[in-house]
Subunit: 137 residues, 2 copies
């Protein structure tokens, strides 16, 4: 997960504990319930800033509904990818993380072209219809 | 834009016209205003189904606000990428379009490894400290 998304949702597994609201509830200025769906992913200290992008792009209600449809053991991964998409969309409102996809597609095309050029050159230099030896002179 | 996102938002430039609501307003069951922000991107016929994923993932209000912050000439591109992200998230609630990024990153790594292997092999076979000739036998 790290290569595309990094670890943007803060201290995984942190909970609101000690009466402090989680970062999401702090941002939303609401009471943080014991079973708050966001608490494991947004710590009280830095979670609010991290939750801001998610809230702005997806909305807290949509993310909450989405998490509830996902098995608990996959929610952390889901939150990482949502945070990644949200931050990308805040940075680039037109393309969001799709600009990353375009860049990678271009890289794949470039590498593919280089590889096929090398293969074509090698086939041209060393046709399969004979054997070659290499001599140092 | 086509390679990653296709053209998922339907007939660009279509408007609600003739009293029919645009696809977004049809989905939201609301009156389609003359200056409806969604009308150019969601035709009355197929737009409602296409808008459903966007509404489910981002919410109509969030998308509307986002569009209003983008210059008019870039809104179609934005809507394409939003539709792409939304459809990917509906298909794969855990990873969304980030799974596409992982696949592409893996492809780039594989190609990069192949290219560096070829380069290393070529350097090993043909060291720069001498000249080689190739003889067919």
């Amino acid at each position: 997960m790290t290569s595309a998304t990094g670890n943007d949702t803060g201290s995984a597994g942190s909970s609101s504990g000690f009466g402090s609201p989680c970062g999401a509830c702090k941002f939303l200025r609401r009471k943080c319930a014991a079973d708050c769906i966001f608490a494991p992913y947004f710590c009280s200290e830095q979670g609010a800033a991290r939750f801001a992008a998610i809230h702005k792009v997806f909305g807290a209600s949509n993310v909450s509904k989405l998490l509830l449809r996902i098995p608990a053991h996959q929610r952390f991964e889901a939150m990482l990818t949502l945070a990644y998409e949200a931050q990308a969309r805040v940075r680039d409102p037109v393309y969001g993380c799709v600009s990353h996809i375009f860049t990678l597609q271009q890289q794949v095309r470039t590498y593919s072209y280089k590889l096929s050029s090398i293969t074509t050159t090698q086939l041209h230099d060393f046709p399969l219809s004979g054997y070659y030896i290499f001599m140092k002179v």
